[in-house]
């Protein structure tokens, strides 16, 4: 029986040798057979996420007990891991960690006026390793080396022609 959740790159990952397991109802390549010391890539599409738009979205999320980033294009950590990302003045993205369930909790709630839930169905990839700057230089026109980690920046750009959000951390880039 076909799984209810499938990653957008499920077919592409079939050629990678490794161990698969189901996470959040989605088959995931949990560990690869070979080690890739300079650059590693992980498909995080299995993580649950949701979005909210509207003039009242940030305030409503604060009312739910979340610490919302003050500035557009920045992110904060959720209490049990995961991210809350401010994509614009009135648009936010929440991505859970493997331990948290913020998205599931929020999606079930009725929202007030000026808050609009957004279904998120993203391909999410984490990149890490010392060659990450080189990779980003070749595939994206943003100079990630000039960004300050302390400002928790989020970049909305295109990478090989595909729109993406990225929150660069030291030797780690998380693309949604």
């Amino acid at each position: 029986m076909t799984p209810i959740r499938l990653s957008p790159i499920f077919d592409r990952l079939q050629s990678v040798k490794g161990n698969w397991r189901e996470i959040n109802g989605m088959p995931c390549l949990a560990k690869t057979e070979h080690d890739y010391p300079t650059l590693r890539m992980a498909d995080l599409s299995c993580l649950t996420r949701c979005g909210f738009k509207g003039a009242g979205a940030a305030e409503w999320l604060r009312d739910q007990g979340l610490s919302v980033p003050d500035r557009p294009n920045s992110w904060k950590s959720l209490p049990e891991g995961g991210l809350i990302v401010r994509l614009g003045l009135s648009e936010l993205l929440i991505e859970d960690s493997l331990k948290s369930d913020v998205s599931a909790r929020l999606i079930c709630q009725s929202v007030p006026a000026k808050v609009y839930p957004v279904l998120r169905q993203d391909l999410a990839i984490a990149l890490c390793g010392e060659a990450i700057d080189e990779l980003m230089r070749q595939t994206c026109n943003v100079n990630f080396g000039a960004l300050l980690l302390a400002e928790s920046p989020v970049i909305l750009t295109s990478m090989i022609g595909v729109f993406r959000h990225g929150d660069p951390r030291r030797n780690l880039s998380h693309l949604v």
Partner: protein, 370 residues
């Protein structure tokens, strides 16, 4: 085949069969039994908020403030000059919640334009682009209901034509729209993109006993042509107004305002320059090609926009823009690419099921007129 930014199946190849035979078999499956097509490339948007209905009233030519929750309606969008730029279906999921589709090629542009208008008008509503987040499959044919019934607890007997429902299908949360683009009883099933493979496989398995067959873009283009449904951008161009395209019924000029209304008020006072008509050509003739010209007294008098051989009607059928004078005659001539002429007989559209009987219960359905 490329379709805007997407790759779509033109048809599903079968060993030993030609392209034409494959397309014909796919079309016949939809007409006689049931077929399944991936229509995920459609633009899919949501508008929510207290002014959501008002927003749509201003953007589209139709009326949506009076659309009942649980129903959908055809939607036509014009530019400021009254030219058709897009179409789709608007479904009302709640009093302040609408879900609607756009054409495949225009999804990003329409979302950008609606966002600009919303910023300008400052209405109390928000627009969400779900084109990449949702997928949709169209299950179409007389057996569509029996196939779907195996996968959902939704009461399909209380699901009228143009109705919209939220339900679980094959354990997947879905929005279902009872629309009929290909002219048969059908359900457009919209789900989260990640669940599309599971939904596709479940429908194909459930439809085995009904003889389900996947169908591609070419069969869909034939089926919608038989039904006389237009493809915006193919059967319209950068100058086409609703009256020329025979879509005057979708324009509510008595609304207080919609984009393009003022231009249409001016255009409507002038005589028509061209009019879309249906035509038929004998199966023994070599058909012209789409975009071949209509010639009258050695002058260009129009052009063909869609042409296909219809197995159901056993003749070539098509749509063409012609002058109003030609539209009042019985026939006209089209010049083929090699310079030869072919006679086309003007034929009322829809070619197939003009009384829409295929959308009615079998108990009240009569033999479909073709």
């Amino acid at each position: 085949m490329r379709s805007g930014l997407w790759q779509r199946p033109e048809y599903y190849a079968r060993s030993g069969l030609s392209r034409e035979e494959c397309i014909r078999l796919e079309a016949e499956a939809v007409r006689d039994r049931v077929g399944l097509i991936d229509v995920s490339t459609l633009g899919k948007l949501e508008v929510r908020g207290a002014d959501a209905a008002e927003f749509l009233e201003r953007v589209y030519t139709g009326r949506y403030a009076n659309l009942k929750v649980g129903m959908s309606r055809y939607a036509l969008m014009l530019d400021e000059s009254g030219v058709i730029i897009d179409d789709g279906v608007i479904a009302r999921l709640g009093v302040e919640h609408f879900y609607f589709t756009t054409t495949t090629a225009n999804a990003a542009n329409i979302y950008r334009e609606l966002s600009r208008l919303n910023t300008m008008w400052q209405l109390d509503c928000g627009i969400v682009n779900l084109t990449g987040a949702r997928s949709s499959l169209n299950l179409a044919g007389s057996a569509a209901r029996s196939v779907l019934a195996k996968l959902t607890d939704l009461d399909l007997s209380a699901f009228p034509y143009l109705g919209v429902r939220e339900a679980i299908v094959a354990e997947i949360p879905a929005i279902l729209m009872r629309v009929g683009f290909v002219g048969e009883w059908g359900y457009e099933i919209h789900v989260a993109a990640e669940s599309t493979p599971a939904l596709w496989d479940a429908l194909m398995e459930a439809g085995q006993t009904e003889g389900i067959r996947p169908f591609g873009v070419e069969a869909q283009r034939l089926l919608r042509l038989e039904k006389g449904h237009l493809i915006i951008g193919q059967d319209t161009d950068g100058l086409t107004t609703p009256r020329e395209a025979g879509l005057g019924w979708a324009v509510k000029m008595d609304k207080p305002f919609f984009i393009g209304q003022r231009s249409l008020q001016i255009v409507d006072r002038k005589p028509l320059k061209q009019k879309l008509v249906g035509f038929s050509i004998s199966r023994t003739e070599t058909p012209p090609q789409e975009c071949n010209l209509v010639i009258d007294n050695d002058e260009i008098a129009g052009r063909a926009t869609s042409i296909a051989f219809s197995p159901t009607l056993n003749r070539h059928i098509g749509l063409a823009y012609v002058t109003p004078e030609i539209a009042d005659r019985n026939s006209f001539s089209i010049r083929r690419s090699n310079g030869s002429m072919v006679a086309a007989t003007i034929t009322p559209i829809p070619f197939y099921d003009p009384e829409n009987l295929r959308q009615k219960e079998a108990s009240v359905r009569e033999e479909v007129k073709v």
